[in-house]
Symmetry: C2
Subunit: 370 residues, 2 copies
Amino acid sequence: MAQVTIQQVAKAAGVSPSTVSNFLNGRTNRMVPATRERIVKTIAELNYRPNRAARQLRTGRTQRIGLIVPSVANPFWGAFAREVEVAALKVGCSVLLCNSEREPERERRYVEELWDDGVRGIVLCTSLPSLDHFADLIERGLHLVAFDRPAQPDDPPSVVSISIDNNLGGFLATTHLLELGHRRIAFVAGSLRSLNRAGRYSGFRTAIEAAGLDIDDMPTWQDELGSAPSGDVEAAEVGRRAAHSLFSGETPAPTAIVANNDMTALGFCRGLRDLGLHVGTDVSVIGFDDIVLADLYDPPLTTVRQPIAQLATLAVAEAISTGVEGPAGHSVLLRPQLILRESTAPPQPARILTGSTGESIVQGTAHGTD
Amino acid sequence: MAQVTIQQVAKAAGVSPSTVSNFLNGRTNRMVPATRERIVKTIAELNYRPNRAARQLRTGRTQRIGLIVPSVANPFWGAFAREVEVAALKVGCSVLLCNSEREPERERRYVEELWDDGVRGIVLCTSLPSLDHFADLIERGLHLVAFDRPAQPDDPPSVVSISIDNNLGGFLATTHLLELGHRRIAFVAGSLRSLNRAGRYSGFRTAIEAAGLDIDDMPTWQDELGSAPSGDVEAAEVGRRAAHSLFSGETPAPTAIVANNDMTALGFCRGLRDLGLHVGTDVSVIGFDDIVLADLYDPPLTTVRQPIAQLATLAVAEAISTGVEGPAGHSVLLRPQLILRESTAPPQPARILTGSTGESIVQGTAHGTD
DNA sequence: TTGAAAGCGATACCAT
DNA sequence: ATGGTATCGCTTTCAA
């Protein structure tokens, strides 16, 4: 129960705490090998482990970064969190993980708690339009890395923003659909709180207009604001509702959709299934993120992949970057990649359902786009 | 940059640090309202936040628990991690999350690091057969909660084990399949490292034998040990390989399978798709966990649900339980629940593939089991 | 009701 | 090459 302290080690080894401390901090050149030996031996015997709180109090340093995600229950954030941990491990850091559930108050509370814990580097995956609230902490030395959120004009100057080029992602996805021959494409987004939506929609719009089509002819579906303060798992439910709504017959149905993320896309596919419609064959679906399940789904989902590992590495690097007065605030946009799978295919000219097994349908249509 | 200390607050408020400390710790009854007022005001003005390291060093206490999971990239663990955080928040704790990737060395390192950080309650989701390695830390006061791992005879006495009743889960799943009429059912497990496998298989066996069938007639598939030191995402790949192998024609193929978890089940479904086979219609698939995607899948996956929220609440409670000499080590087994969906259906009597669209195939068979 | 002072465990400067 | 000692920010007796 009682903790072994550096004093005890020192006494047992017949040296002073200073020397043990020197040893602990790699300054082994300052002592004769014999002393070193004794210290090593004593530490092992006593099973001594330095108290981090004491060390941190003294040095002011922590080998830790904070990661605030909407919810690790969402496979995308789970995968990202894991990559962040991998990246942090490489630079000798551990990660304190927090789920904000996209609630601004929780985000703020977590940032403050992390600060209290001595954490000075935080990767914040936020939807908050304003980061003003953290201005004073940032001024006091907090390294805030905003992830998956476009830099905003009035962000505190030293904030670093990291994300993919959402605009490009939306453009690639939409262009792919247009090239397949689709002319009526819907954009389905989840929570309005998600700031990345704007970029993706903008890319969508650019592609639509570049094809000489009218953006106003494209149905869009978006979650009503009133819904639960949703985490991201609910994104699937959003997609499902969107499918039901878009195919209710009130307006001409789209032949393809671009979803704001894979969970929404998968939910949309589920909704299509509820209606007896087939993904790929009846309506093409494209998502964002490329979560593991995108490839597992039936049919495998075409999607815009985020290079998670690189994003994570970058984010960690920025979070731990020593605050030498450098370029400070800036934003990094990584290139997303379109992953072609089987949920997208040319529109059915006259909606002729080929009579055959599923396999041959796949062969005949979806595979052709791969 | 410079941190505000309790001394500064004290001076600015014209009181002693002791009084501020008393205020901070809720002992407001020990001061006149006027004093209290001044302290409140000063703290707000200076934006003072107590240094946790100092506090922890002094008191020895931390409001934090550790959670070690195989990988948050696996949707099940992601969901669990989130529930743990919710439960911890309720009791005023924060959670330090670690991914072990199922590597024993990482698990051990993390436990030690957490200990160094002053964490005295750890929820360990492990596959390690032996917990001996932590014996000395446990003796020194570590509260170790083993999750999803059956208690082993030689576990250190104070270890608490929490999981579902895997035996029952395996039994429920298999019985369901038997009742549908299946007579050749395969058991598909991922990593041999997973200790929960044994219980589930045992339940499987019990059900098979209770039906008067011979367990040796049931194909089983299990990942070769040699494979990568896999995290859990690879579980899907395992399932996919299993499908390819089981339906290679070398042995009579099963008409249904029980997978050790949903990711494996989903991977299996994907493998079936590779082969042009249909889930539910051609072969029934049942998983374990009930991750969000089980319901989203096409067809929705029948599975054995783990009551994650309750499990998490229990785990957290045990992790923070004050070490009053109580009953100490014990194990808790929660009841899993069979969730019927559409991936299980009666076997096809003569394997007649109805020539029609995919939709009507679904209508004719899979839907009927719901 | 308030304050002085000791000390938690480590570090690092300054002596020797 | 080694050791003495002040110090990090806070809590907690104990005295006043």
